[in-house]
């Protein structure tokens, strides 16, 4: 008889060709999709060549997405992007995205139907954990691991113990996935789930849209987790039906599966959240902090760059203007998101509100370009990290929040919630 397993354990067992796995087991697994971006691919390609192999394990199972420093911000980043494009051409990589096709990797791949329930996805980007929203196992690795995966299609993983997060109750006004995950990270701490799987369960998450789930799984790594995962359900089925011929493999945890810990979260008490500098676990209700003035508000990123996020922000910005001293930058996460935002009139709302619209890319999230902060400047951002200097000068500050708080704060010119407008 097969002992009960969590969804994470089931996916790892299937990909290891085993009936069962237990936390702590080291397993060799087949990888369904290997992902790298313009920053991590160059190192992975060096490793790939050092291995002396002549082809990638499967040209249909490698995704290369230029998104961090594109459109190329300087000569060295142009060289990196060019090297990646040449590699994609030379090795016949199916899922290489050219400028105009590319967006933020973790917005783009689910949108294109390239990640499916039950898949095992490894990416040279820490936010690869995003795909757990679809009921896949996905985790970030470094470039050496990714280079080896591109060559062999295999990697080794230690089976993580699972922490179950049980969300109960109906959310209040202005509460989205970002508020739920910030609240959760505030409770767990930035190393509260190190090496572990986070499983998002409970009646509340069943009613969350795929966009909200992607936002939550995206930030599992901010608690140190290896992966974050939702059991696939009718929301997942509908999402896949619009994007892929294949529905994927729907797995769920056995009722008597072993969890290292179960944490109940009553969402009825959660108010719009904000993470203060310089840590994603430094979380408060925005209404509980003394307001601080803002030099910049950024709406976008792999956490909150989807059409649902832009709609939520636009609803608040409609007919309003950003504060005079506060810059507002909006970056749609993919060309499809951008086009839809244009068709829905959302881009016009942003422009009339005084926003700058950037092309689909990671933008200022990691302080690379398109909105870098000066010394002493303060930003509120819908991104996932507010480390010292993350968005620019080491003497700058970042506050993290969801799109509603970001839009309201842009209007107020300071931190604040939508209820203040």
């Amino acid at each position: 008889m097969i002992p009960p397993m969590t969804i994470t354990e089931k996916i790892l067992a299937r990909h290891a060709g085993l009936d069962t796995v237990r936390p702590g087991d080291i397993v060799r697994v087949d990888v369904d999709l290997a992902l790298a971006n313009d920053i991590t691919a160059p190192l992975a390609i060096k490793v790939f060549h050092a291995l002396g192999v002549t082809q990638v394990f499967d040209p249909n199972k490698v995704a290369l997405v230029p998104d961090h420093f594109v459109p190329n911000k300087d000569i060295p980043s142009a060289q990196q992007a060019k090297g990646m494009a040449e590699f994609a051409l030379a090795y016949g990589i199916t899922h290489y995205f050219r400028p105009g096709e590319a967006g933020i990797e973790h917005v783009l791949l689910p949108e294109q139907g390239l990640v499916k329930p039950g898949d095992l996805i490894m990416g040279a980007d820490s936010h690869t954990c995003t795909y757990g929203a679809l009921g896949a196992f996905s985790a970030g690795v470094g470039s050496t691991d990714l280079g080896v995966i591109m060559a062999t299609g295999k990697t080794w993983l230690k089976v993580p113990p699972t922490v179950r997060l049980l969300y109960e109750g109906k959310t209040g006004p202005w509460i989205g996935g970002k508020d739920l995950i910030l609240h959760t990270i505030g409770r767990l701490g930035v190393e509260g789930a190190t090496y572990k799987a986070l499983e998002f369960t409970g009646e509340t998450v069943r009613s969350l849209s795929m966009a909200q789930r992607l936002t939550m799984a995206n930030m599992a790594v901010e608690a140190g987790a290896k992966n974050g995962i939702f059991a696939p359900d009718p929301v997942t089925r509908d999402f896949m039906a619009d994007r892929s011929q294949e529905a994927g493999v729907f797995l769920e945890s056995d009722p008597d599966a072993h969890y290292e810990q179960s944490i109940s979260i009553d969402v009825t008490q959660i108010r719009p959240q904000v993470a203060l500098p310089h840590s994603p676990d430094n979380v408060y209700a925005v209404s509980d902090i003394p307001p601080v003035s803002l030099d910049q508000v950024f709406i976008g990123s792999c956490t909150n760059g989807r059409i649902e996020d832009l709609r939520a922000a636009a609803e608040i910005l409609e007919g309003r203007k950003r504060a005079r001293e506060t810059r507002l930058i909006v970056i749609p996460g993919s060309p499809r998101v951008y086009l839809q935002a244009i068709q829905e009139g959302i881009i016009e709302t942003f422009l009339r509100a005084g926003a700058v619209i950037g092309p689909p890319c990671c933008g200022p999230c990691l302080g690379g370009h398109m909105g870098v902060l000066a010394k002493g400047e303060r930003a509120l951002s819908t991104t996932n990290r507010n480390f010292e200097g993350r968005m620019g000068h080491p003497g700058s500050e970042v506050y993290l929040a969801g799109p509603q708080v970001a839009a309201a704060s842009a209007v107020l010119g300071r931190t604040g919630g939508p209820e203040e407008l």
Binding site: I26, R28, I39, T40, P42, L43, K46, V47, A50, L51, G52, V53, H68, F69, K73, D74, P76, S77, Q80, A124, D125, S126, T128, G140, V141, G142, S143, T144, D145, G147, V148, A151, T152, K154, T155, W156, V190, E191, T194, Y195, G224, K226, S279, L366, G367, G368, V372, R385, F387, E388, G389, R390, P394
Partner: protein
């Protein structure tokens, strides 16, 4: 293997943005990355660091971005080992993959200060100082990771395997 080196001491939660700020990620050249190492949190590090030095830090070292540039920069700068209270998982894996030994020892950060000399026996996990006043034990390295180190990193380990039937990366 035994290592002995001068200590550079860091706090808890040193993320990979602090090890290599993102503005330097437009290059993957080792010399460039070495120059960017700890550029914001410890200006001057790259000029003062010497071959064989060690990093000692608190909990959750290497959290955040998966950028392998972080351990590559440390190694290229001359750092020969990192001893921290705990490590974020992607950094831990990356460090082994590129052949930078890292050891978990929660007591080390309190026992060592900047400029102290630290001795570590990678085989046993024994951490000492030359005077013999400090004697700590690090968590043993998992056997699977020891195999990768013994091969000389993941690339060498994989190359070796690619030449064999029934290869197991």
């Amino acid at each position: 293997m035994k290592l002995k080196g001068r200590v550079w001491k860091f706090k808890d939660h040193i993320n990979t943005d602090l090890i290599v700020p993102a503005r330097f990620l437009n290059s993957s050249e080792e010399a460039m990355l070495a120059r960017s190492c700890f550029a914001d949190i410890r200006p001057g590090f790259s000029e003062e660091v010497r071959e064989g030095d060690m990093v000692v830090a608190g909990a959750n070292f290497g959290c955040g971005s998966s950028r392998e540039h972080a351990p590559v920069a440390l190694k290229a700068a001359g750092i020969r080992g990192v001893i921290a209270g705990s490590f974020a998982r992607i950094f831990y894996r990356n460090a082994f993959n590129i052949g930078l030994p890292v050891l978990e020892c929660p007591e080390a950060a309190a026992a060592f200060s900047d400029g102290d000399v630290l001795c570590v026996d990678l085989d046993s996990g024994r951490i000492t100082d030359p005077e013999g006043d400090i004697a700590l034990w690090a968590e043993p390295i998992p056997p699977f990771m020891q195999d990768i180190i013994a091969s000389g990193g993941l690339v060498a380990h994989t190359r070796k395997g690619l030449g064999q039937r029934g290869f197991r990366p």
